[in-house]
Amino acid sequence: MRFDRTEISLALIAIACVLFGFVSPGWLIFLLTIALSKALVVQGVVMQMRSGLVSFGQGLFYCIGGYTVGMGGQFFGIHDAIAALALGIAVAIVVAMILGLLLTRYRDIFFAMLSLAFSMILFGILVKSQELGSTDGFNVHNWTVFGWAPETGADSQQTVFTMTILAGLVIAIMIHRYTKAGIGVICEAVRENEVRVEYLGLSPRWLLYGNYVAAASVSALGGGLTALATGHVDPEMAYWTTSGEFIFIALLGGLGHVAAPFIAAIVFSVVRTYSIEFVPNTWQMILGFTLLGVIVFLPKGLWSLVSREKSGERT
């Protein structure tokens, strides 16, 4: 298997991040873990944006990933983190394969609203489920990795941070290849001209379906990692504001590169954390102005700063 420059750079950054984790304070590790987990969900949103669809309900798969990890430990005796994450992905794939049959018939705002509707249906079910803690959710059982049980606290935080980095690296490389592969490029072609794709003998609907299922699996992994990091899941994971947050981060980063969602998620988390810290009553306004500034001055997202710099180097 050959790796290109982007993939090697991603691997080096990942190694640097893992090492950085050993010398960083706990609060920063936690912030980064949550940011990078959410970035995986955002990768799912971006994958769909590239094909011309905006999911307002990606929280559905974030929540499925999180709840499967939580329920696996609580009810089914699955304490291995890797197995629980894999199960979360599997459940998300099954759900996406069913919902995708309906959703991929729709485009534009209809797709957006339907995806939101399914997410809110899950939210409603979870809120009414006493066994799952209703609105409070429930705590995730202590977990192991291949039989090794990290100490709770810093040890556990460090482990989940490393797992998130590694998962992020694998997913980033896969998505990087996916966007250059047949399905990735042709999904962009669907966004640009569905009629032509159809008259090339391809089914835009099935292409979008494959893309939707792939995006769901990535998002579920993000949800599962969040559950492991926070040790808690609740129905808010499927709430519309959570899905809105993912779109916010996607717009912040832009669609230009696989690294953009990771950068945007970190920027978002830092801005939000410090806004809440210093201006607790108006933090939403700060986030609003941040997005406004990005849309006005960097319509292609934060990544356009990097790509501009690169094109400047070439000239």
Binding site: Y178, G182, I183, I186, E192, R196, E198, G201, S203
Partner: protein, 258 residues
């Protein structure tokens, strides 16, 4: 000769408007058929029905002797009937060569790969050959929105031909193209078509283009075919001159003017 395309009593109604009325058409393998008619005569409706874009109200469509009625455009494309469009249908954010590469990948398999790169060396090399074949190699890296209309038309037709279709339907291949470019464009297209041994049916408003390239003409008027035959005979037909070409067009063989 073997019939490749046949329509039987093909009808299309849009409410009270009859866009196609009992169209019985047979096209033999290897023919180059021109479809003429004024705006609203039902030419594009006919192509849209045959290629699965529109569902006929009544009638039957046979391709290679098999019914394709109700089939999706992609199924019809895969069966061997490709088309181009009046307004070139391209991927506007992509370069000319990338448009061709997407078409090449689509022709190879209906299920694109999840991980192997689309822009493989083999596809790039084949796309380069096509660029040269169509004389558009100077535009390879230009966005399709930034190239002249004639080039866009050629890319559209090249993409349709990439899947090695048995039959190609061209909807006004020279519309929006300057008079000077028309002959060059059609020469390029017809050369490519001959090389691939493709049966062609094309809609055209320019009678000079029709006369020059087709072996048979179908004249449409108000959803009906009012004449079908050799170009000279059809263009000299009094009804065609009255209702389709207008009196301004006089058949060249008659007096050398058009």
């Amino acid at each position: 000769m073997t019939t490749i395309l046949e329509t039987r009593s093909l009808n299309k109604e849009f409410g009270a408007v009859i866009a196609a009325k009992d169209l019985d058409v047979q096209v033999a393998k290897g023919e180059v058929v021109g479809v003429i008619g004024s705006n609203g005569a039902g030419k594009t409706t006919f192509i849209n029905m045959v290629t699965g874009y529109l569902k006929p109200t009544r009638g039957e469509i046979l391709f290679n002797g098999k019914s394709i009625l109700g089939h999706s455009p992609r199924a019809i494309t895969r069966a061997g009937m490709a088309r181009s469009f009046q307004v070139a249908q391209l991927f506007p954010e992509m370069s000319v060569i990338d448009n061709l590469i997407v078409a090449l990948a689509a022709a190879e398999s209906p299920r694109p790969s999840f991980l192997s790169p689309l822009r493989s060396d083999a596809r790039i090399a084949r796309a380069e050959e096509i660029l040269v074949e169509f004389g558009i190699e100077n535009y390879r890296h230009s966005k399709v929105t930034a190239v002249p209309q004639g080039v866009r038309k050629l890319v559209d037709i090249a993409m349709a031909l990439i899947g090695n279709p048995q039959m190609l339907l061209l909807d006004e291949p020279t519309s929006g193209v300057s008079m000077d470019e028309k002959t060059g464009l059609m020469d390029t297209v017809m050369n490519a078509v001959r090389q691939h041994g493709v049966t062609v049916l094309f809609v055209e408003h320019d009678m000079d283009v029709v006369e020059r390239y087709v072996s048979r003409v179908l004249a449409f008027y108000s959803g009906e075919i009012i004449a079908d035959g050799k170009p000279a005979a059809v263009l000299a037909d009094e009804r065609v001159r009255d209702l389709v070409t207008g009196h301004r067009h006089t058949h060249k063989k008659g007096n050398g003017a058009s």
